[in-house]
Subunit: 601 residues, 2 copies
């Protein structure tokens, strides 16, 4: 049974009622969160987006209405007309915003009944994510999910306010665009009109935003959906939302300033938090040296210390030979961990092994003195120099990796995070921002046997490094920058190349022939002939940013209808088979080789 | 040759300078709009997003700088440092915002040279649209194109401000979703992970926004890209932007009120115009009767007049027989057109023929009396009654169509617009809004041999018409509404079905089997069991709305990178062929039958 809403109009949200409404007649609409019968009276927690209020059904409302109230179950949709009254003494609920009042029902309608949902709608109820995603419309009834979506809305709104107030124009760029082979795998869309041809969904509006700068739009931004058909390791989605920004006639620090002030603005606006600007800036080289990663979590110390100078002449061959072969010896002082057991140390050794380290040397600085299997290889003054460099004190554990620089960085960088977790050094309420700058322009890809762009092929080299592009490409620094929050890259960008000759040199360095470059990026190279302003920009991952702001562990919790790790929507069951007629119209055929074709072929 | 921007910082936009800046040293950056040499001095109109200012190069800046200035051509990108000075008497240009001042150049850099562009960058220059779209980045340099994009930005920003301030949450819905056969043709996206399966790009977020209401989000909006793979007749784009809105616990008038106030808000905010609310409301029946269309342009009269009563007994068989067969006889009074020639009348007859009318009867009310080939078939009092009903006066031309109602409506509806154009009755500065309400829920599709939804299958019938769904479906009215601006539908929506039984009845009336309904919309029907609130919403076509606000003739002029009528992007050349490797990864093959296969088969 369900009744019509006709002639009723909601007067208040459930969650907005309080003492000031006592004596008022209100009309509420919402869901039955919970029903209790007590002493011949029915108490219902009625829930809407703004909160929960207790509505009370007395038998005085009459047999018919009271009987109807008795039929009500969880998640029924009700319209309730009643009077706001103070709760009887002793029944006030201070943990509820509306806990000082009740709504005494005079009339009500069942707008829709409900089956018992597959899980109880409450924040504290742990439900398998598969079930939550299948019944997402029920999962989104949970207040913390709604709060996450509301925070997302407010944050993106604040972003738009900020940019609009700073002279930026939001411009919509196409979703049906051209496949460009540089970058990740494209999602393709077959064209019905142009047989055998395909659109690609954008991995980012990079080229369009640069062309908007060519057109003189001066300051552009967009909150825009992007697509990458990658294997969804870690916490990725096939479609994600990006804050995309581009500015003309700017230099690096102009971009950094406007972006960090944007961040401060939205944190103030949505979380009421002060973010101190300017944000700290670290070069890539320094980040790698001190933290082993290009996105350091600086909420805690445990920095990497280079003891190369101290150990270069020691008898311990593992250290000295690594150095002779161009490697590094670096350590971390795990403060207060001198009590670690053999098993603890074995675990840590295994842990760094994941990142390629062949071993983990250690020195325990116990109250009884140094304990270490490698101590015997050092002269007393060598040991003292090492401990001194590591700022070792009694109670500390010194851990060392000796290897090629990439392995030292990866293993100690991850070890640092692991130790911070074990030692509970991370303040979950801190938001620690920084910029990492001066990235290398290129990195050598051993598999492909060529240099590839570390950011993307439109990134400008640092002016004075341009001559190195032809002689020593690996040494060229980029005018690139990342914003890092709590050890997670949330944004990255660069000053772009704006001169055709440099762009052509870049493509050449990446190993493109002139023809390939023209074929892939011809319209961009053409545009470069018609007066391109110096320009630069940045892109932020909105999903990740909101996840960090909402203190969630996965971006799926800040996306209304996310996909699984296998890129499925469990609610709509997308993707799904389509009709032969649809495929025929698009001039394509499904092409799945038979399972046993390998044997046959 | 191009010079670095290093150490220079723009102080002002070109277009912002005026008398108040006289005496200030400024740094400008922009494009050379025009260069004139006069009396040994070089004058350059420097252009940026905000406007144009004249910068002056005197030989006193030195041989080197002056020589460089002489090398400057149109569309070069310059950085200019100079002093703002008043223009010499007699050279003030009142048509230019900056026309009272010059910038006397002290130093400048050529940030980038430019080839001669394929067309001169100016609003008044007419260029073939194909060229404009190919060089869109140059086309967008034209101030009127930039103004259109800026208006679009401001309008969409105002929309977001309005909804955010009224308790709506913007929620992003998926782009990679499920193909649903009801509606237009889908764009498909092959899945790499799920072999032989496809995502579809959304035609609208209809189902998602309804599910957000199921989840209790209460008030939702989104400015969202949608996709339809239709033949691009008229002014359509394969991808378009929609303002999507949904509200819970509302009835029709709640939606109409919030939406018309939104429209008034954005017109005030962006164009400074007052739109009077509430907007007029016309039923579908009345719109069809008075204007022959469901989206009447009410900026002028020329209404359709039904003369059925007056002509039902006349001797003129064309009229009387049509009426006997259930047809209509209606006319338009073309005020002051009694002077129309035989050729004019032939043209109009041909015109209504396009819409199926077999003829166009006319009565000329000249100063010398009635002239009409059909007058002889009427008795004097019959003629008088017709003229009286038509409010005919000397000088008027009365035009009639007798046919089945659909043909009368289509032919006279279009004739009305044609006459308004010929008579110049349309005020291009007027914005005439109205609501059309009480649409039929269903229309009979002769081709498919079944009823189809006039809006979409989630539209709620008017409560009291529900019993008719099984007995006389064509008579059922929908709780649907369209907003019409100047004869163009800019938005449409409805109160939705929120009870499973009604939704199932709707699917049944549309001819779906239970299995089909479950297969296509199973997750929605399932959701309907868990407590769905009454809800309704609307969607607006943003491209069209902005086109009307900007007074453009095509939506392509308010989209940064539009596609052609054959769905191509002339700049990037999308769609385009892709590599065999890409297709293989997606488990599809191109399937183009050979040209001569028809002969062979």
């Amino acid at each position: 049974m369900s009744e019509s809403i006709q002639s009723l109009k909601r007067s208040h949200y459930c969650g907005h009622l309080n003492k000031t409404h006592i004596g008022q007649k209100v009309t509420l609409m919402g869901w039955v969160n919970k029903r209790r019968d007590h002493g011949g009276v029915i108490f219902i927690d009625l829930r809407d987006r703004e909160g929960i209020v207790q509505v009370v059904f007395n038998p005085e409302i009459g047999v018919e209405l009271f009987g109807k109230a008795e039929s009500v179950r969880n998640e029924y949709v009700l319209a309730v007309v009643g009077n706001v009254v103070p709760r009887p003494e002793g029944t006030v609920n201070p943990s509820l915003a509306t806990g000082e009042i009740d709504v005494l029902v005079k009339d009500f309608r069942i707008l829709n009944p409900a089956k018992t949902p597959p899980f109880y709608i409450a924040d504290e109820v742990l439900v398998d994510e598969t079930i939550r995603l299948k019944y997402r419309y029920l999962d989104l009834r949970r207040p913390e999910m709604q709060q996450a979506l509301i925070l997302r809305h407010k944050t993106v709104k604040a972003i738009r306010d900020y940019f609009s107030d700073h002279g930026f124009i939001e411009v919509e760029t196409p979703m049906l665009t051209k496949s460009t082979p540089e970058g990740a795998r494209d999602y393709l869309v077959p064209s019905r009109i142009h047989k055998g041809e395909f659109y690609a969904l954008p991995q980012s509006p990079q080229i369009f935003k640069q062309l908007l700068m060519v057109s003189g739009l001066d300051k552009y931004f967009q909150v825009v959906r992007c697509f990458r058909d990658e294997d969804l390791r870690a916490d990725r989605q096939p479609e994600f939302t990006q804050l995309d920004v581009e500015m003309s006639f700017v230099q690096r620090d102009d971009v950094l300033t406007i972006m960090e002030e944007m961040i401060a603005f939205i944190f103030q606006k949505t979380l009421g938090m002060e973010i101190k600007t300017p944000l700290p800036r670290l070069t890539y080289a320094e980040a790698m040296d001190r933290f082993g990663v290009d996105k350091p979590d600086m909420r805690f110390g445990l920095e990497l210390v280079n003891v190369g100078e101290e150990v270069k002449n020691v008898e311990f061959k593992v250290f000295s030979q690594v150095l002779q072969n161009g490697g590094q010896v670096k350590g971390i002082n795990a403060k207060g961990c001198a009590h670690y057991s053999r098993k603890d140390l074995d675990d840590l050794t295994k842990f760094v092994g994941i990142y390629g380290a062949k071993g983990l040397a250690y020195i325990l600085l116990t109250e009884e003195g140094v304990k270490s299997p490698i101590a015997k290889f050092f002269k007393e003054e060598e040991l003292a120099a090492i401990i001194n460099k590591m700022q070792g004190e009694p109670g500390d554990l010194l851990l060392f990796v000796a290897d090629e620089p990439a392995v030292v960085a990866a293993s100690l960088g991850h070890l640092r995070l692991e130790l911070a977790r074990r030692l509970n050094l991370i303040n979950p309420d801190e938001y620690n921002f920084l910029w990492v700058v001066d990235f290398p322009l290129l990195e050598y890809d051993k598999e492909e046997g060529r240099y590839v762009a570390m950011h993307h092929p439109f990134t400008s080299p640092v002016e004075e490094d341009i001559p190195l592009m032809e002689t020593d490409p690996g040494k060229v620094r980029a005018q690139a920058y990342d914003m890092v929050l709590n050890g997670i890259e949330i944004g990255g960008g660069s000053i772009r190349i704006h001169r055709r000759a440099i762009q052509e040199l870049m493509f050449k360095t990446l190993g493109f022939s002139k023809e390939e470059a023209q074929d892939k990026f011809g319209f961009l190279l053409d545009a470069f002939e018609y007066g391109v302003p110096p320009h630069g920009g940045i892109a932020f991952g909105i999903d990740r940013l909101i996840m960090l702001m909402a203190k969630k562990n996965t971006i799926r919790d800040v996306i209304a209808f996310p996909k699984t790790q296998s890129a499925m929507d469990l609610m709509t069951q997308a993707p799904s088979p389509v009709s032969p007629k649809q495929l025929k119209e698009l001039h394509i055929k499904v092409n799945i080789p038979e399972k046993n074709s390998l044997n046959q072929g």
